[in-house]
Amino acid sequence: MSHQSRDLAATRAHAKHTSMFLRMLVRAAVLRRGRAASALFAMVVAAAVATAMLNLYVDVQAKLQREFRNYGANIILVGKDGASLPSGTLSQVDSALAGRGIAAPFGLVVARTVDGQPIVVAGVDFDRVKQLDRWWSVSAWPATENPHFSQSQGEVGHPALVGVRALPLVSPKNQSFDLTFQGRTLHISPAGTVQTGAAEDSRIYVSLADFVSWTGVQPSTIEVAASGSPAEVAAVMNQLAQAVPAADVRPVRQIMEGEARVLGKTRATLLAAASLIILTAALCVLSTLMGWVFDRRRDFAIMKALGASERLLNGFFAAEAAALGATGALIGFLFGIGIAVWIGRANFHAPVVPRLGVLPIILAGSMAVTLISAILPISLLRRVQPALILRGE
């Protein structure tokens, strides 16, 4: 034995036990690359699918709630006993909302046409209505109001949206026309038509500034589309009721109940689908890993024959499984976030926010599955004599 190799033996003898443990772990992965890689691959896929499903499950509610806000208002403020709302109400509502929704004021009066026909005229903020009532089919919105501009050209008339059913009555040739309210006349030139299939079709919409200066009537209704979960919407309603004591705050039950039902059913379906998929993925990992560990019964037998204790063996396979589970979970988590973001883009045209809170669940779940799939075959093998395994029986 040469001097050199004696040195090597000495260093190895003095090295810590852990290094041998690590060495075995690493060699196990390196020497059987194919099987280790396929086990890792199964783990990554399972973790990715689970991450994507959990992320979507958490996020889909927010996404669908946003879709439902296209139905328009879910809260309505009306003056108590049909009275108009005080003039500062809209800014009170805006500050109470603090960006959690859109509010649009509506003032309504019955005016008369030149032939004395009654017609409902509404004063609105066109920019807000455009955002709130997206289903309105409008041929052309009036230009954003500019008081100086519209006053200086009184000849042309105040721009207005005319309901499709009102149009033939007031302005069959799309010409400008007059409306009177309590003896005062407003000259109107239609900027476009509005069609909704509901009461709006019979009305004429003018800007709120024109409406107030013409009729002297303040808006009587503010429609609010508050975003968020039912609890958040209820909180907004409470705040609005406190902020605007002069108004009755009412939920639009038609929209809120329909929304709750559809969201509930969608989430339940998603949960069922997610559980099925995650279960399948977990079983796939389980069968791959169990095959892998079972396949290494020779390693197991040799270690046992060389005098490894039960505890060391269990620890070795458990550490291996945990390492595999953690690595797979981390890589899978990244892929899963990618899948969730892609689904968000493709389906909702909005990114799904990565939920880091999902990571611990995925990590724990992956490691649990890998540990089970390592411990199960080991406990089967433990009862077998190493000699029998080594003889290939």
């Binding site: 199964a42 896929v45 399972a46 699918v49 994507a52 499903m53 979507l56 889909v60 996404k63 669908l64 879709e67 296209n70 139905y71 328009g72 009306v78 019955v110 009654p118 017609i119 409902v120 009532d133 089919s137 059913r165 009102a166 009555l169 069609q195 909704t196 299939g197 509901a198 009461a199 019979s202 039950r253 038609q254 929209i255 109940e257 329909g258 039902r261 559809v262 059913k265 969608t266 339940a268 379906t269 689908a273 099925l276 998929i277 279960l279 399948t280 993925a281 079983l283 796939c284 069968s287 791959t288 095959g291 396949d295 020779r298 899948i339 689904i343 493709a346 389906n347 909702f348 290939g392």
Partner: protein, 421 residues
């Protein structure tokens, strides 16, 4: 010999075959259940969306302008044109009658309530609550009760042929009424069967059977508007085309697609002197919501198919890898690669067929269970899908085994038999 090899392999290695078969069964179960749910989810969600209320409205063609603020009509109720109540059952005779889940006519009239000696004007809306209607030999029940699920009644819903009414909750507070009271309305004594809460303008109204509103108005058979709730297909560019500009086969395709526009046209044709239109707030948005949910479930079904395919191939790969020694023996005895591979493929096909059939059965049961517990209705999968599912199972099993089989047949029998690989 070939048949015998396959047969004996199944007979002697029951445990392994059961394991691989279980994986295939599970994969096919998940795939079947998800396909069944995905194909039906559109219809199910469409029905849930109908709880938001009617998406079509039929009005008289020659109707004068509505002068209505907050549900209060400021025009004399006798004004304008009316629809004919006798025409309503024809709604169920249109091409898309199966898509029409319900309809309710309304006839608002003004009535005077005597309260504490004073007369007070209120709006009384006549409608159907749960009216039994026959068209041809088909009977169905329709009305506000099913059309507006958010209407809550404390007390009882009135019968459509009775003289009972519902009073809106705000009006009831004003008049100090409760269910079971009697009110004097336009000179007649009327029994209040319940208090209605809707969150809408009805809270300030009296809601009565249609026939009572007609008597008060003095126009039997008159209906002001009909709200129709129909299952529709989300609108697309084709739906928006003007049917008058379409010709022949293209028109037929437009007419025979349940677009809101097409159903509205058929309603106009069914009811004389009427004009039907979509209520854009409901009709436009449900298309968007429906498309999103369908898209989501479709993508998730793809994920499920992928996961189950992977589970099957992982199980097959493990099963074949464990049989290296057997391959070595076969090859040592002179079997060619083709012979070995065909034994494995035959086994895989057999397992895929058995596992696929069992999985299809469990999967359909699972889909039915999901439909039952989530949507309270059937999700059925047509037996036509069985061959498709079986074919997919065989293909996935083959694809999953192919790699493992290729590796197995290229083994050197000497090493394989010595157990060194």
């Amino acid at each position: 010999m070939f048949v015998r090899l396959v047969y004996e392999s199944f007979r002697r290695q029951k445990r392994r075959k059961v394991l691989a078969g279980a994986a295939i069964t599970l994969g096919v179960t998940v795939a079947t259940a998800m396909i069944a749910v995905a194909t039906d989810i559109g219809d199910k969600i469409n029905r849930e969306l109908r709880t938001i209320g009617a998406n079509l409205v039929v009005t008289p063609q020659e109707d004068s302008l509505d002068v209505e603020i907050g549900g209060v009509n400021l025009k004399p109720p006798t004004d304008g044109a009316f629809l004919n109540e006798a025409d309503l059952p024809k709604i169920k005779g249109t091409f898309w009658h199966n898509n029409i889940v319900g309809f309710a006519p309304i006839l608002p009239v003004s009535a005077a309530i005597r309260h504490e000696g004073k007369a007070q004007d209120v709006t009384l809306t006549g409608t159907y609550f749960a009216k039994k209607i026959s068209y041809g030999n088909e009977d169905f029940v329709t009305g506000a009760k099913s059309l507006y699920p958010w209407w809550k009644v404390s007390g009882a819903w009135p019968d459509d042929n009775s003289q009972d009414v519902l009073i809106g909750e705000r009006l009831a507070v004003k008049l100090n009424q409760k269910p079971g009271d009697t009110i004097t309305l336009s000179g007649r004594q009327i029994h209040v069967s319940g208090i209605l809460s809707t969150g809408g303008p009805e809270d300030d109204e009296v809601v009565a059977p249609l026939s009572m509103a007609q008597q008060i108005l003095g126009k039997p058979d008159a209906v002001k508007r009909v709200y129709v709730s129909a299952l529709t297909k989300p609108e697309d560019a084709f739906a928006r085309r003007d049917p008058k500009s379409l010709s022949g086969a293209i028109y037929d395709r437009w007419y025979c697609t349940p677009y809101p526009q097409a159903i509205a046209l058929q309603l106009t044709e069914a009811i004389s002197h009427s004009h039907a239109e979509q209520i854009r707030q409901v009709a436009q948005n449900e298309g968007a919501v429906l498309t999103r949910i369908e898209g989501l479930i479709f993508l998730i079904t793809l994920a499920a198919l992928f996961a189950s395919g992977l589970a099957v191939s992982a199980a097959m790969a493990t099963a074949i890898f464990e049989r290296r020694a057997e391959v070595g023996l076969m090859k040592a005895l002179g079997a060619g690669k083709l012979a070995v591979a065909s034994v494995f493929f035959a086994e895989a096909a057999l397992m895929a067929l058995i596992g696929g059939a069992v999985g299809f059965g469990i999967g359909s049961a699972l889909a039915r269970q999901i439909g039952h517990s989530i949507f309270n209705s059937q999700i059925s999968i047509s037996p036509v899908l069985l061959p498709v599912i079986l074919a997919i199972a065989v293909i996935v099993t083959f694809a999953g085994s192919a790699m493992a089989i290729r590796r197995a047949v290229s083994l050197d029998p000497v090493f394989a038999l010595r157990g060194e690989l």
